[in-house]
Symmetry: C2
Subunit: 201 residues, 2 copies
DNA sequence: GGCGGCAGACTAACCAGTCGGTATGTCGGG
DNA sequence: CCCGACATACCGACTGGTTAGTCTGCCGCC
């Protein structure tokens, strides 16, 4: 007979490392990184510290894993969209909407990302910032392309435009509720629309 | 001869409570609330724990004071702008730019606000959220007024528009550098302009 | 001679990470 | 076909260090 090893709803047949990561993600998002003890994580995952330190080098590593997963996902999605051969305004619209949808679909990760990034160890922090910058630059290139070819207004520097949009993405984890009136896609369409409207010449 | 009671640059003739608050604000912004110990705060302020707990009930109180100060300031500035009798698009532009300028001028407070709000005790957290919502609603009323009178597009719900703009304000503490190329006023003008352009019918 | 303003030692509760130990599995040789 | 050697996966008590908050008492001013 299967043993209920955990008080939470995590399925106990998923491999231990994934289970630890999933539980840690949830707890970090709920209580914050610093206020979540390693003991709480292992209890919620139905294992002990020995198991956690068998698979992860440190608590910090756990946090870093969350970031790596999310960065990988978003970068590859942006690359796919930006590499298409649609007109630049359609590529920007798709990219702007896509980052909103994936952020909402991983709201816990996003929350952790923006609230706990500075609690990573200095080297890991630098690494995450660097990958984040690559993402930012790819996005900015789309805006600049549109400005060069005259389909977007040049009234605002491209950097500022990108920060403007990412600000709203960042903010999603603060106000978006899964049980609210708008679906992720609707929110994404609206936010992408606001961006494109602001860029009209 | 005056005693250098502190290793930091805090003037030692300002009253102890204000000095503690100033030091705590700086440290919270630098290291985060959880990673700043009460011991560090009192040492940087050149006093001891006895002094801190004489003026403040808890570490949490210190954090709450930072919020109260900032919320008071922004609410009264918004009220002043919104109550003027200029056309609604001018009032919204002024409000949108003003919140950017005051946020940049108090970047430490803003950083703490968005990163550490959820570390307040539940009651204080609720109180801060309630005041924040009042601010949000006053701002939204401006957007709705413009939409009703036909000077703003109704393509996007007013709530979303406000969240879009506040997202970028929120984000400022992540990317804005005092030694960067843009003055606070220039950033504010650009961001307000993006908002107004997005709202063109 | 009392009182606000503060000092600083103290406590009780944690917490991240370690380490010796155990159970289960795998593989090569005799 | 079995046995020992080694590896992987995990357990849980323990350690050294840190923390918020308390408390007793001193000191100078009214």
């Amino acid at each position: 007979m299967p043993v209920r090893s955990s008080t939470t709803g995590e399925p106990e047949d998923t491999p231990v490392p994934q289970r630890l990561l999933a539980v840690a993600t949830r707890l970090f998002a709920e209580r914050g990184y610093d206020r979540t003890s390693v003991q709480e994580i292992v209890e919620a995952a139905g294992v002990t510290k020995g198991a956690l330190y068998h698979y992860f080098g440190s608590k910090d590593d756990l946090l870093h894993e969350v970031y790596a997963r999310m960065l990988r996902l978003q970068q590859q999605r942006l690359d796919a969209v930006a590499d298409s051969d649609a007109p630049v305004e359609e590529r920007l619209r798709a990219a702007a909407a896509d980052v909103v949808v994936t952020t909402i679909e991983n709201l816990d990760d996003a929350m952790i990302f923006f609230r706990s990034m500075h609690q990573l160890s200095p080297e890991k922090y630098k690494q995450v910032r660097a990958e984040r910058r690559r993402y930012h630059e790819r996005f900015r290139a789309l805006v600049e392309e549109g400005q060069r070819t005259g389909v977007f207004s040049t009234a605002t520097p491209a950097d500022l435009v990108v920060d403007y949009h990412f600000g709203s993405v960042h903010h999603l984890s603060t106000w978006y509720r899964t049980d609210g009136p708008l679906t992720p896609q609707q929110v994404a369409d609206h936010l992408a629309d606001l961006l494109l409207r602001a860029l009209r010449p």
